[in-house]
């Protein structure tokens, strides 16, 4: 549940004193450190505040007659402040500077709309004509010519993100009641223009956006008391003509019959938004209030009346809301937990599983249900089948990505299932065709299940695409034991040399695995996403030769990190013993021994820690390890007893378990003795009488 917590006043905004001298605030921006904010007023002054202390740390003003036209931002890399006054004059200064007249100054050739500062990467300057420059580029030649890309449209809002290493700037413009959105990728120097789908009788009032899974989600507050959502895919290869973004309704701001006339809003997390606005049934007096809404359940979570009125601006920063209330700038902390009642009682799993539609039997689904979306896709697929070139594959993927961005359409999950089935069918008929990246992306971003696309894992198994299999094992809740076993067998059979060339998610192993290269101080390279190919090559060469001798002592991991990560994915998947056991019996003896050796290694690792858990994310817990170990021993009991290489392993295992049982029983005894000692000690020790001196002042 989301909740508004205590509030406090950051500063006064009155005409007689405080910030802004009654003119109001232009913007609030994060300061150089946590807990710091920069306030820019509609005048000459910028002030830096420490929020928790409610105390200004610094204040800078431009000369009389000048006016700050663009909110002051902080360059997080250099800890400098950047302001623009009188539209064109750029100023840059540091904490120790006092007089803005004396700090760095550059006069630009065009009017600046806004400067965006990103946590890593230099600030971006957006000009009123739609031109974008990084600050560095701009400072090299301040008078450089700035293009006008939006002709006579007016910028209404802008925002910047980092996606990977690449800064992205998005801004919205208006012209004659039409609204446009531009997405600028700086590295690629590409600019995409979109038009927002028209909405009769209402227009956008406020925008906000966030980026997730390479898709920009643009939320827009309309004057018809609704919040709409637009999805803009980032990967867009073709420079096409302007596209129309279709909107989907996210939320109606209705509170028991009356509407909330929102003026501004912010996104809190994937399910919550906060809206500042005035609430009132027709005829009644309007009350301004701050509200938090759950978009998933379409409910108003909490609200707070603001009887003294606001300026309609709302900022949110470090779990705090900032807004003007009456003549002061008020800060309200909030809590926004996605946990539902069900989460608290361990029932959340139900709500997380995909919609029912994802378990529909595809063969019986009527054509008309899928007509809209899938037809076009299949036609695309068929089209591109004829021209089997690389280019057509990318075209196909592009189309699919666009389809995926329209997330709100009904039966979307079903449509995705059909798309995958179509793709997989094509993979089956055409052995050369395998859109690995796209499949991976769908698996990673959509809540899929095994039953939704039953052939996907089979094809991945055939192609030995272990990364995709790892992702499927981690994400699908309903993998049949047969397939789990097949994955296990493939993972165990692949050679280490093959695996090291393949990208695998290692997050479950990097925290505990200690094969030789860990002891060789090359950890940093390994932790890095993916592998440094040259470095690895020689390490692995040495390793493979060395490992043969070292595995038996049970101290070093018997498999490489990639294989370990893949096996962990198997260990974590859900299974039923009854169904798994018959398959497990088919595992070749050598692989069974290797797997058991790895399980033994994990078990020893677990037992090293007092809390018997492995560090890292998605690493198996001791019960899962034990269950698999027992299962494997059950399945291969005779083989293990007969096999000479297994003998030593089994004896080690037996010794280790026996030692542990003894150890725990000793601990229990010690606990009892300690308790008794404590009791005796207390009885002896407690002095029943003394005369002491006590001074009271």
């Amino acid at each position: 549940m989301a909740a508004l917590c205590e509030s406090f006043t950051l500063c006064g905004l009155g005409p007689s004193g405080g910030v802004g001298l009654g003119g109001g605030l232009l913007a609030l921006q994060p300061g150089p450190d946590r807990d710091h904010v920069l306030l820019t007023d509609r005048g000459r002054t910028a002030t830096l505040f420490k929020v928790s202390d409610q105390k200004p740390l610094g204040c800078w003003s431009v000369k009389h007659g000048q006016i700050i036209t663009c909110p002051v931002v902080c360059n997080f890399e250099t800890h400098e402040y950047i302001a623009v006054h009188d539209d064109k004059v750029l100023r840059i200064w540091k904490d120790k500077d006092i007089n803005l007249d004396k700090v760095f100054k550059a006069t630009l050739s065009a009017d600046v709309y806004r400067i965006h500062s990103l946590p890593n990467g230099g600030p971006l300057v957006l000009f009123k004509g739609g031109g974008v420059r990084t600050l560095d580029v701009l400072l090299e030649a301040p008078q450089q010519e700035i293009e006008n890309v939006i002709s006579d449209e007016v910028i209404k809002w802008s925002e910047a993100f980092n996606e990977g290493q690449q800064p992205i700037l998005i801004f919205a413009t208006e012209k004659d009641g039409d609204f446009f959105v531009y997405v600028k990728k700086l590295k690629m120097n590409s600019l995409h223009k979109y038009k927002l789908e028209q909405q009769e009788l209402s227009k956008p009032l406020s925008f906000t956006a966030y980026i997730k899974n390479k898709i920009i989600t643009l939320l827009c507050l309309y004057s018809n008391y609704s919040v709409y959502k637009f999805l803009i895919p980032l990967q867009q290869n073709s420079e096409e003509e302007e596209q129309i973004l279709s909107k989907s309704l996210l939320l109606n701001l209705l509170v028991s019959g009356s509407v909330l006339k929102g003026t501004s809003f912010v996104v809190l997390d994937k399910d919550h938004i906060a809206v500042l606005g005035s609430l009132g049934a027709s005829g009644d007096e309007c009350k301004e209030c701050l509200t938090i809404w759950n978009t998933k359940f379409q409910t108003l979570q909490t609200s707070k009346e603001l009887p003294l009125g606001t300026s309609g601006q709302l900022w949110c920063y470090e779990e705090k809301f900032f807004f003007t209330h009456g003549k002061v700038l008020t800060v309200i902390m909030y809590k926004c937990e996605t946990s539902s009642l069900a989460a608290a009682v361990g029932k959340l799993k139900d709500s997380q599983t995909p919609d029912v539609s994802s378990f529909v039997n595809w063969n019986t689904l009527g054509d008309e249900e899928l007509a809209v979306s899938v037809h076009s896709q299949q036609s695309v697929a068929l089209k591109s089948e004829s021209r089997m070139t690389d280019a057509s594959t990318t075209v196909l993927e592009d189309e699919l990505r666009q389809l995926m961005s329209k997330a709100q359409m009904p039966d979307f999950q079903a449509a995705i299932g059909c798309v995958i089935t179509a793709l997989i069918n094509r993979c089956k008929t055409d052995p050369k065709y395998y859109p690995q990246n796209f499949l991976l992306q769908i698996v990673q971003t959509r809540d899929l299940s095994y039953s939704l696309c039953p052939d996907l894992m089979a094809v991945a198994l055939e192609k030995k695409d272990v990364y995709l299999l790892q992702n499927c094992l981690q994400r699908f809740p309903d993998i049949p034991e047969e397939i789990t076993y097949a994955c296990l067998k493939v993972f165990l059979s692949l050679s280490e040399a093959y695996l090291q060339r393949i990208d695998v998610n290692l997050e479950s192993v990097i925290c505990y695995i200690d094969t030789e290269f860990n002891s060789k101080d090359v950890k940093t390279e390994i932790v890095e996403n993916g592998f440094n190919a040259e470095l690895e090559q020689d390490i692995w060469d040495t390793k493979i030769t060395k490992k043969r001798h070292l595995t038996t002592d049970g101290e070093l991991c018997p498999v490489g990190p990639q294989k370990a990560a893949l096996l962990n994915a198997v260990l974590l998947s859900a299974y039923s013993e009854t169904f798994l056991l018959p398959h497990l019996k088919n595992l070749p003896a050598q692989q069974a021994v290797l797997f058991l050796r790895y399980l033994y290694y994990l078990y020893v690792k677990c037992s090293e820690k007092i809390n018997t858990t492995l560090p890292g994310v998605r690493s198996p817990n001791i019960n899962q390890i034990m269950d698999w170990m027992c299962l494997l021993l059950d399945a291969h009991f005779t083989v293990m007893v007969m096999l000479p290489e297994a003998k030593e392993l089994l004896s080690n295992l037996h010794k280790f378990v026996r030692a542990q049982v003894r150890f725990y029983s000793e601990l229990n005894k010690i606990e009892g003795s300690l308790r008794e000692l404590q009791r005796l000690n207390h009885q002896k020790d407690s002095q029943t009488y003394s005369i002491e001196v006590l001074e009271l002042i």
Binding site: F297, S340, L341, A342, A344, V345, K347, D350, S351, Q660, V661, F663, Y664, S665, L667, N668, E671, G672, R679, H682, Q683, S686, Q687, T688, Y689, S690, I691, E692, V693, L694, E695, L696, I697
Partner: protein, 686 residues
């Protein structure tokens, strides 16, 4: 301010008896509690959880079940086989009726409070009608083999669920027949051991909730005879169970000292289907939790470790604060120790005996915090054993040490004690006047010449003590308007002029002892008085209330003093008001008239009226800060409350002479060692 020589006494071997059962009275805001020694206590939640009434137990009377019926009437039943009604004004047993079914294990009242059902050793469930003069036997319900350990009425009053060993039954009240019999150990195939149904609750939906010795809490559909849900909460027994009035929450207590809350929650957010889910575990006790209760705001549990724990439900609390704090009540809210200042003797009151001790002494002096070498050890002089099964209500030693008195429910004893060197001789005073017993409080005058006996109906008897060992009844003081409630606190003035008496209605009456006349009444206040004392020089009456307020009332002028009014205007410090144990004793330092000495279980305080009161921004417990400041800087930091928290838990503190204090502590660990070992729980390798 000064140094004190503190006699730190830890040889008072009090072991509070374990809690056996609880009964929550939702409308009265009161909790009735019975201990295994048969003591019954009433806690008033509205008066800051004050233990406002105590009915001492008796060896002949065990209490296995308590329940409120017919409004504010309290009934108890126990292994003696009798159903007892308690007189809450006179704090004694009003009447008893034999259940005629052997030991009684359980008792429950129907929702309207007009009928009582008891569960007996012989397997019978008997119904009693609650009538104005007591209870009347109504009928026997179907008897089957096996003691009835727990009972619960269906809220409509038509059926009763009765738990026994391995089985529970549902009985139809109007026909008296067993309409359902359900085996609870049916699902356990393992070892053949009996499964005891320790506690049972009948919900209005027809669900029967049982808790049993296998550690399970089970929900049954009684009509179908089917198990709806089963939750294993513990490896040992679940002993107690209570349901909230709304039937959306259940609290259970286990023999490992843990309590758990169950809540009826929707399976999914917004779903109509609801299930019982174990939500919160608590471990506030070390031993069996034999009794639990569920108020609308809190979970209440009582354990064999003698603790009463009140754990507010955070979701019902509006804001985080004092009301949301956990309460643990271990010690009685009244004095069990009295002190003969001049003779340096301490009298300790146990449930069935008294111990008289002489304090040790030293001839050294030292600095703050030093332990001084003893030149004489403390000495256990004599033990007074109370004959008969009745427990002691109250006791007192005279300031000179030569008189000791105590009272049980039906006997009043007065002894003359003489000390010759190391030998002590005791002489029982024969022919004590016949008084209306029991006495609820006994108090000697400061010259040891007379004894005040707090009695029922607001009356106080004044006895004159005669040398060499006699006494006679002088007068009985009564409030002019009468009162049904017993007097529970007394305070007499040093000059022998005044006596203040507080009754169960919380009215404070002041009597003039020279002419045995009612002098006046302190304006009524809405909270219980926890301690009061009359200043030796000014004859101001200092009163501590259970909401931690302090008042000073001038007896001669019959009005609150200027200081008292100032305190009320200024307000006491927030931290002072948020303490959770009441002031149980107030005394004065005749050499420093502005000082008031008071203590609760966790602190001792010297209140210096001549100093300013601290405001909420000041540090209330500032002694350790002050000690670090140089002499000159201290002056500005001084405030009226000089609090020492070194001695805990503090059962008694008194001033022996001008700079000598006695503090009687009872460390929790000392009590724990007297208790049986708790159930061993494995920590490793589980």
């Amino acid at each position: 301010m000064g140094e004190f020589e503190v006699h730190r006494v830890r040889f008072f071997g009090l072991v509070p008896a374990g809690v056996r059962c609880l009964a929550w009275h939702p409308r009265g805001g009161r909790l009735a509690l019975a201990r295994i020694d048969g003591t019954v206590e009433i806690y008033n939640f509205a008066a800051n959880y004050f233990q406002e009434k105590v009915i001492p137990g008796s060896d002949a009377r065990s209490v296995e079940a308590l329940c409120w019926a017919a409004g504010e009437r309290l009934f108890g039943a126990g292994l003696g086989g009798e159903v007892t009604e308690y007189d809450l004004a006179r704090l004694c047993v009003a009447r008893s009726v034999d259940g005629c079914g052997g030991p009684i294990w359980s008792m429950a009242a129907n929702s309207s409070g007009t009928q009582l059902a008891i569960g007996c050793e012989d397997g019978s469930v008997k119904l009693f009608q609650v009538v104005s003069g007591g209870i009347e036997f109504e009928r026997n319900l179907d008897r089957r083999k096996g003691r009835i350990l727990c009972l619960s009425w269906h809220p409509s009053g038509t059926h009763i669920a009765a738990g026994s060993i391995d089985v529970f039954r549902v009985l139809n009240v109007s026909s008296g027949q067993t309409v359902q019999r359900i085996m609870v150990n049916y699902h356990v195939q393992k070892v053949k051991r009996e499964c005891i149904v320790w506690s049972i609750a009948f919900l209005s939906s027809g669900t029967v909730v049982t808790s049993d010795s296998f550690g399970r809490v089970q929900f049954w559909d009684w009509e179908q005879g089917t198990l709806l849900e089963s939750h294993t909460v513990s490896t040992s027994a679940v002993l107690s169970l209570a349901v909230s009035e709304k039937e959306d929450s259940i609290v259970v207590g286990t023999s490992t000292g843990a309590t758990y809350q169950f809540q009826l929650l929707p399976v999914k957010m917004g779903s109509l289907e609801k299930r019982w889910v174990r939500t919160k575990p608590f471990q506030h006790h070390t031993h069996d939790v034999r009794a639990v209760a569920h108020s609308s705001m809190a979970l209440i549990s009582g354990g064999l470790d003698a603790q009463l724990v009140i754990r507010p439900l955070m979701e019902k609390v509006q804001k985080k604060g004092y009301d949301a704090a956990l309460r643990k009540i271990t010690f009685p809210h009244r004095r069990l120790v009295s002190c003969a200042r001049k003779a340096r003797l301490l009298l300790f009151q146990f449930s069935q005996h008294l111990e008289l001790w002489r304090l040790g002494s030293t001839d050294e002096t030292g600095k703050d915090g030093e332990v001084l070498p003893l030149c004489r050890m403390p000495e256990h002089l004599v033990q007074f054993k109370s004959k008969g099964p009745e427990h002691i209500y109250c006791s007192c030693i005279s300031p000179c040490g030569s008189w000791v008195t105590y009272s049980t429910a039906s006997h009043f004893h007065l002894y003359r004690v003489q000390y010759e060197g190391d030998s002590v001789s005791i002489q029982k005073v024969p022919k004590v006047p016949k008084l209306l017993l029991p006495a609820y409080q006994l108090q000697f005058s400061s010259d040891s010449g007379s004894l005040f006996v707090a009695s029922a109906r607001g009356s106080v008897h004044v006895l004159q003590l005669l040398e060499p060992g006699g006494c006679k009844h002088l007068h009985t003081l009564r409030p002019p308007s009468g009162s049904p409630e017993a007097v529970y606190l007394l305070a007499s003035s040093t000059d022998g002029h005044w006596l203040a008496a507080v009754g169960g209605d919380w009215a404070i009456h002041i009597y003039n002892l020279k002419c045995f006349k009612h002098h006046g009444t302190v304006p009524t206040y809405t909270c219980a008085v926890t301690a009061l004392a009359i200043h030796p020089l000014t004859n101001n009456l200092v009163i501590a209330y259970s909401d931690q307020q302090l008042f000073e009332f001038s007896i001669p002028e019959k009005q609150y003093t200027a200081w008292s009014r100032m305190v009320q205007n200024f307000g006491l410090h927030k931290v002072w008001l948020e303490r959770d144990s009441p002031i149980t004793h107030i005394t004065f330092n005749p050499k420093n008239p502005s000082h008031i000495l008071l203590h609760d279980t966790y602190m001792f305080c010297v209140l210096d009226k001549s100093l300013p009161l601290p405001d909420n921004s000041a540090l209330l417990m500032n002694q350790s800060t002050l000690k670090q400041l140089p002499e000159t800087a201290r002056q500005r930091q001084l405030h009226a409350f000089k609090i020492c928290k070194k001695f805990q838990p503090l059962l008694f503190a008194d001033l022996l002479d001008e700079n000598c204090l006695v503090m009687v502590e009872r460390p929790i660990m000392d009590i724990k060692t007297q208790l049986p070992l708790p159930i061993q729980q494995k920590k490793f390798g589980t």
